[in-house]
Amino acid sequence: ARDQIQIAGSSTVLPYATIVAEAFGENTDFPTPVVESGGSSAGLKKFCEGVGENTVDIANASRAIKDSEIETCAANGVTDIIEVRIGYDGIVFANASSGPDFVFTPADWFNALSAKVVKDGAIVDNAAANWNEVNPDLPEQPILAFVPGTKHGTREVFEEKVILAGCEESGAMEVFAAEMGDEDKAEEACMTLRTDGKSVDIDGDYTETLARIESDPNGIGVFGLSFYENNTDKLKVATMSGVTPSTESIASGEYPVSRPLFFYVKKQHIGEIQGLKEYAEFFVADELAGPDGPLAEYGLVADPELAATQEAVVNETVMSK
């Protein structure tokens, strides 16, 4: 039988999973698990490939598993899945540390990046070139935003919790809805970003965003909280609706832009693969995933309901269909 646990999935969860895996290997007699990265989609796909030694035991995901995926899993014999939410990933906006301070609201982002905006009650193409045209309180700096590419889960959060929220906040949503007569269409219109080069999709990771900001200091990038915290010397974080992002302000719900992170355990492998359950328990133990643990230190927003998760892991509670 395979010696080590095999984990695949999201690259957002990866740093946390590696910290845990490393500690797990050091503190137990089990070998260090192998943690692949490759995206939530690929991870879950492998996870749902079937049951057996050459399939993965755990899938990390930066979003909840979808119903359709659960169905595919079941069709392939992966029927018992334990869902473990490990905490939250905060999403922050930051520019080069040499640049000015930014104080954003979602509406600013909507007005700066959406393809269509409402001006004097009419829907027009977005022509804003500088941030101060969007909001006079913002500095006079050309708009250049490095936003996550469409492959990233962060993009979804960004669109829904910033752009769409800004759309609603600024009242543009109503105008769109009135114009298009359809709520869904209006939402889509809200979330369609401009394509004239002011909003740059980043298909790579945060290091790429950082590099782009370094080569173009006018840029403002979207980062994960943990990434920002590791690079505070190069980046200056912006506030959102007056709240500075931090593990505390996100855990309390004050800072609006965050998303939950998960991993999924193949219950059928517990007992087959040595250490699988121990790993899951180890991961969510207070020492690691708690607010003072190394994960929080690294930037993970601890789950306020961690106790419930721990219990679910101990009881091997599977997801209901």
Partner: protein, 401 residues
């Protein structure tokens, strides 16, 4: 691993077979080796191959059965024994066949030919495997997404919420545009470098320059990507794009093309150098003797003679250009766009295959499945291009002697 033991045992058996076969052949020949149809080493080799072939066939068959779950993994030991038995049988049979008239060389060559054919069929198997591993998911994709929109759509905007526009045209355009620029950089530089190395440079210079340039092919593409992102991109933007009023994007088609071109130089240069070097000296002498300059000799005599190989090298470079991801991601950006401005960001099919496969989407959603459709489409397109290339090479081929 009992199978590896069986393999080792049959190898030893084969070596023994070789020795036995050879000495038997010597014995049969007596004093006159010419009385044998084939040389003793071929007799030895034929025995060895006859030992090895059945053993390996048994093992491969067993492995295939096991993959198809028709054989339990516990039967491995038995398989090993079976394989060994087959090997011994082959050995015995092989030894009995030795005789003056036995056409050992032909047998050996036929087996070797079989191996050669098998090796070339691996290419076909790979193609079949690729098509098979893409086609089902592509089918699923087209169940969920209109194929007309895919092939004719000019917009590429995948979304998590669904309802994405997944038109291949901007990606295809980006692929062709970036590859073209990369080739425009790599082919002239690579060709000139090859010509210089094979025709002008001293042995020493060549001995150093050639492996040095080959290092360019070994540098991980991420280094090129970062080079494009940090150095070339801003430079092109600040010195060309902005002054010319062609936009102010840090990443652009041109950036990626230039940097990728540098990476591709050794593909063109090293291979072409070998081929050019292989053109017989008498060809050059002929031209030089008529009073042509070395460059005229090269352009008009040597290069045409080396053309098929050179085209192969260029095709290889083009293939790499089409398949490259990292440089495009970092150099050209991720924006799918249909445009002519080389200072704009664009992206390629390959990049999108990678990003859609490694993203966070639902794995059964069209946004993920599109990667397979992209892969298959790209496969078909490059197939077409290759057929055209083959046709062109056939037409212009010049055979020396």
């Amino acid at each position: 691993m009992p199978l590896s033991w069986a393999l080792l045992a049959s190898l030893l058996l084969a070596v023994a077979g070789y020795l036995i076969g050879r000495s038997r052949a010597f014995a049969v020949a007596g004093s006159d080796i010419r009385s044998l149809h084939s040389r003793p080493i071929y007799h030895g080799a034929s025995v060895a191959l006859m030992t090895l072939t059945p053993a390996i066939i048994v093992m491969i068959a067993a492995s295939l059965l096991r993959m198809a779950k028709a054989l339990s993994p516990e039967a491995v030991g038995l398989v090993g024994l079976l394989a060994l038995a087959a090997g011994i049988a082959g050995l015995g049979w092989g030894i009995t066949r030795i005789g003056a008239g036995y056409q050992a060389r032909n047998v050996v060559e036929r087996i070797v030919m079989g191996v050669l054919i098998f090796c070339s069929s691996i290419a076909i198997l790979t193609t079949a495997g690729i098509v098979l591993s893409l086609i089902f998911e592509t089918g699923h994709f087209f169940q969920k997404y209109n194929w007309l929109d895919f092939f004719l759509g000019t917009e590429w905007t995948p979304r998590f919420q669904g309802n994405s526009a997944l038109g291949i045209l901007p990606l295809l355009w980006g692929t062709l545009y970036i590859s073209l620029i990369a080739l425009l950089v790599a082919v002239p530089i690579g060709m000139f470098a090859a010509i210089y190395m094979s025709e002008y440079a001293s042995k020493r210079v060549r001995g150093i320059a050639k492996p040095a340039i080959e290092v360019l092919a070994g540098i991980p593409t991420i280094v090129y990507g970062l080079f494009a992102l940090i150095t070339v991109g801003p430079m092109l933007r600040d010195y060309f794009a902005q002054p010319l009023g062609l936009g102010n994007s840090g990443s652009s088609v041109l950036t990626a093309g230039l940097v990728m071109g540098i990476m591709l130089i050794p593909f063109v240069s090293s291979l072409s150098d070998d081929i050019i070097n292989a053109v017989p000296q008498s060809m050059r002498d002929g031209a030089l003797g008529l009073g042509s300059t070395p460059s005229e000799t090269i352009r008009q005599v040597v290069l045409p003679a080396a053309l098929p190989g050179v085209v192969g090298a260029v095709l290889l470079a083009a293939s790499r250009a089409i398949g490259e991801t990292m440089i495009v991601v970092l150099g050209a950006g991720a924006a799918a766009k249909l445009g002519l401005n080389p200072f704009e960001a664009m992206t390629t099919i390959t990049v999108k295959i990678v990003s859609q496969l490694t993203g966070d989407n639902d794995f059964a959603a069209p946004e993920t499945l599109v990667a397979f459709a992209l892969g298959l489409t790209l496969f078909v397109i490059t197939l077409g291009l290759n057929i055209v290339a083959l046709y062109i090479v056939r037409k212009y081929r010049e055979q020396y002697e």
